[in-house]
Amino acid sequence: MKRLLSATAMLLASAMMAQAEGELQLFNWGDYTSPELLAKFEKETGIKVTVTDYDSNDTALAKIEAGGAGFDLVVPSANYVPIYVEKGLVQELDLSKIPNHKNIAPEWLNVDYDPGRKYSIPWQWGTTGVAVNQKLYSGDINTSAIWLDPPPELVGKVNVTPEMNDVLAMATMYMGGEFCSDDAELMKKVRDKLIEAKPKWLSMDYGMTEKMSNNDVMASLYWNGAIFRARLANPDVKYGYPKEGYPLWMDQVMLLSDAKNVEEAYKFLDFIALPENAAMISAYARYANGIAGSEPFMPEDMKTAPEIVIPAELVSAGHFLSTCTGKGQEYITAIWTELQK
C-alpha cells in the first residue's frame, strides 16, 4: 500500500513537473524564429514553444490589447516598447531569473525606450541604409544623396522603399534636422527635396533582395539583412550608411502581463541571452543580435559582413526613431500623402 502511494505520489509529481515544463506561446514576426533554436530549447528544458505569426506591430498590439489571445511573449519594435509598457500590457522582468541579462551588449543595455532593459531582451536589430550596384556607380555611397540627389548614373534607376518613417527620417536628417521635427521651415525644405527627387526614382517598392540581385534596380533605400542576402547573390551590390543619419531598428522580446507560462517564459528569455543561442537567431534571419560575445558563434559569412558590422566612423550617425506624435507626425503624414500621389 505504502509503495502504491509513493508510486502514485511520484507519478503525480512527475505529471505536475511535466506540466510545469509544458509549453510556451511565442507571438513573433513571420519567418523570424529559428526552428533549430526552438528544438535546442525544447531539448534542454523540455518546454515546447509554439510560434504564432504576425505581420505588423499594429496587428500584434491590437490582438494583445483585446486580451485573452493566450500569448506569453511578444517581439515588438523599439518604438512600440513604450506603448506596451504604458498600457500595462507587459510586466517588468524579474532580473534575478535572467542571469544571462548581463550578456546584453553595453550599447543595447541603456536604450532610451527601455533604460536598463527592465522590460525587454534584445532579439535582433538592423539598419535602414542605401544599397548601390557598384557596376553602375562607384562614388561615395555613405550618403542619402544616392536617392535624394542621385548622381547622373543612377537617375531613373533608384528605388525607395515605401516605409513612411524610414523615408521621412532619412530625408529630414539629410536636410539637417531630426526625425519628427516640428520645425515648419525645415519640414517644408524636406517636402520640397522629396518632391524634387521623386521624378528621378524608378519605383517605390519592396522585394529588393530579388531585384537588386537581378540588376533590375541599381540603387535602393533598404534594410541591411535583405541587402546582405542580395550581395551574396550579386557581389556588385554594396550597402552604405548615410553619414547625414540613418535609422536603427530593434525588435525585442517582452513578457505579457497575462502570460500563463511565466516560468517557462523566463527560461526562454535567459536562453536567448546566451551568446551561442543569440547567434542561432542571427544565423536564421540574418540580422545582428544585441548579445555581447555572440560573434564567435555567428556564421562565417556574417562575422565580417559590411552590411552587419557598421564601420566605426558611421556608428554615431545611426538613430532610433522615436514614437512620433503631435505636430511632427502631422507634417510627416502630410508630406507622405503628397509623395504618394
Binding site: Q25, F27, W29, G30, D31, Y32, P35, T50, V51, T52, D53, Y54, D55, S56, T59, A62, K63, A66, G67, G68, A69, G70, F71, D72, G207, T209, E210, S213, N214, A226, R229, A233, A285
Partner: protein, 267 residues
Amino acid sequence: MAERGFIVSRLPGFTTIALLVFAALYLPILVLVVFSFNGGDSLSQWGGFSFRWFAKAWENDQVKDATIRSLWLALVAALIATAVATAAALGTTRRKPFKGQTFIYVMINQPLMVPEIVTAVALLIFFAWFKVNLGYQGMGYLVAAHAGFCIPFAYLPIRARLESMDLTLETAAADLYATPWLTFRRVTFPLLLPGIIAGMMLAFVTSLDDVVITLFVKSAGQDTLPTYMLGQIRRQVSTEVYAISTMLLALTVVLLTAFFALTRKRD
C-alpha cells in the same frame, strides 16, 4: 442581325476579351506553378527543375501544422455552414412568403455585404471578452467565425437549386400520404443533393482562403496556412510559399474534379 436574335458570343471583340480575361486569370497561376519547381534560390530566375521547395515545405513543422489546421477548420466550418444554410434555404423557399422574409434574407447574406475587416475587428473585441472571462482559447472561436461567414456561400447555390426544382414531385409525395419528413428524405433531399454539395464546396474553399478574419480571431498557436503565408511575405517571399500554393491548388483541382464527376452522374 435581328432575325438571328441576340447572341452574346457574336458581339464584336467577344473572343479577344474572353481570351484576355482567361490570360489575366490563369497566367499568373501558371507562372507560380512553374516556378514552384525552381531549383534555384531566386523567385524569378530559373535554376533548374527540382522538388526541393516541396520537400522543404513538407519538412517544415509550422507548415504541416498550419495545413492540417486549415483543412480541419474548413471541413468543420463547411459542414456546420451547409447544415444551417440548407435549413435556411428550405425555410425561405418551401413555404408561403412571410413577413420579414427579406430581412432574414439580408441577415443571412450579411457577410457578403459587410467589409471583412469590420467583421474581423468586431469579432476580435467580442471573442476577446469570452476568451478572458471563460478562459477558453481553443479552436471554437475560429470554427464559429468561419461557419458564420461561410453560410451565404453555402446558402446561395442551395437556394438556387431549390427554386429550380419541380414542386409537383413534392406535392405528389404529399398526396400519397408521405409525412413532411419522409417527403424531405425521399424526394427533396436527393434532388437537392447536388446543390448541397456545391454549397459545401464553396463554403470549404471560402474558409480555406480566409485571411483577415482568421488573423484577428486566432489565439496562440492557431496559424492557418494563409496567415502563415502572410507572415512569410513580410520579410522575404521564398519559393517555399510557391510550393505550398501549388499543393493547395492541386488539392482544389482534385476537389472540383471530384465534384463535377459526382454531380454529372446524378444529373
